[in-house]
Symmetry: C2
Subunit: 227 residues, 2 copies
């Protein structure tokens, strides 16, 4: 999918730096060697290393902290809007199509979460559920916390892929909230609470069904608005 | 998810260029104005514009063709490995977890494809089915064509999101093929053929079930190998 024409020196070096991160098993937030060390290791000038680091930073593989150094990113390689939704014109169809995908994924993820959630996961989900509720009741923006809530559920599934997928899919939440406004206030509070309780009780079926309810309310609200 | 510290000038300019692409409704492969035009429009030096374009190229939003100019990428914003699977150490768990996600998505996608596929979609899926089969029978590498086959099915669903998701999820196919070798030769040929026929006949249930069969054979083969 990347431009497949011949690579520039900084592009080649950025591949070498990725290989280095993997070989040395550097973890998220680990510090990389400084420019002169890397320059020697890779047999390339310091300015080329600096160029390569800028490319890696734009792909969110490293984070450059001014005056401190270069670190492996917190979620290396996970970029903003990785599937390019910004470039899809029809935002209404995009929102409904994202909701279709949420129907396929999120009830099953809630089920997996109910099966595998540990005590710390449950505490995290409960806290986020409280925080979203408080924001909703005060009429404040709950977008970010809502995505965190659904991501915490995905983390509890212990599947390696879904926590990386859910924030991408739930980039639709700002669009929903815009389109559904606060009409879903009580339904959201109730279904979030039921999902949280079911996961805490390791009740797989109730967790799955509560997530279905949550999504059904969202879809109905969205379709009503379209009519 | 991106580094949220203050942005450099080329980073800010790259945001401006994205806004420009969207405002002007530039389409994939459309040519962008040249550096001096953009430099004037954005009120920034040509070298900063050039820097910004390099950042956008590394995110696959634009493609720089030497001697020709800068173009909107073919699938703008869709980068290689957008969910950072490269940085997950445990490839065996990753493969099984990706398969779990394929179970959630692909049977439903096959069903949507059976519902919405047009004549041109069906011809494309059939051709790819033939090509994968020929490669399998000759014992040649069918990885790329296999991903194309599953992506063509996703395209036929007419959902805007799944064709962007499936190539990411099916990045697991090279891993599968490596792990399952050619043990699934006949099962793969038969289930691919059945999926294709069911979509061509607009038979939603058979399309879904055939996809389930395909995934079950894959999972069993993978789990046998682990034992």
């Amino acid at each position: 999918m990347m431009n497949s024409t011949e690579k520039s020196l900084p592009e080649k070096l950025s591949d070498d730096i990725i290989a280095y991160i993997l070989e040395e098993q550097l973890q998220p937030n680990d510090k990389l060697p400084n420019e002169s060390v890397l320059s020697e290791k890779m047999g390339a000038g310091r300015s080329s290393i600096r160029e390569a680091m800028k490319l890696l930073a734009s792909r969110n593989i490293v984070t450059i902290r001014q005056g401190s150094g270069t670190y492996v990113a917190a979620s290396p390689g996970v970029v903003d809007d990785p599937l390019g939704f910004t470039f899809i014109d029809d935002k209404k169809k995009l929102t409904l199509d994202l909701l279709d995908v949420r129907f396929l994924l999120e009830p099953a993820i809630a089920e997996m979460a109910a099966l595998h959630a540990e005590e710390t996961d449950i505490r995290k989900i409960s806290t986020l559920c409280d925080e979203v509720e408080a924001l909703l009741l005060r009429g404040e923006d709950h977008t970010g916390k809502d995505i965190e809530f659904h991501t915490a559920i995905a983390m509890s599934s212990k599947n390696l892929v879904v926590p990386r997928l859910i924030p991408v899919i739930n980039s639709s939440i700002p669009l929903f909230i815009q389109l559904t406004n606060n009409r879903l206030l009580h339904e959201t509070i109730e279904t979030h609470r039921e999902i949280t309780d079911a996961i805490a009780a390791h009740d797989t079926l109730r967790a799955k069904d509560a997530m279905y309810l949550h999504l059904v309310y969202n879809r109905r609200c969205l379709l009503d608005q379209k009519a």
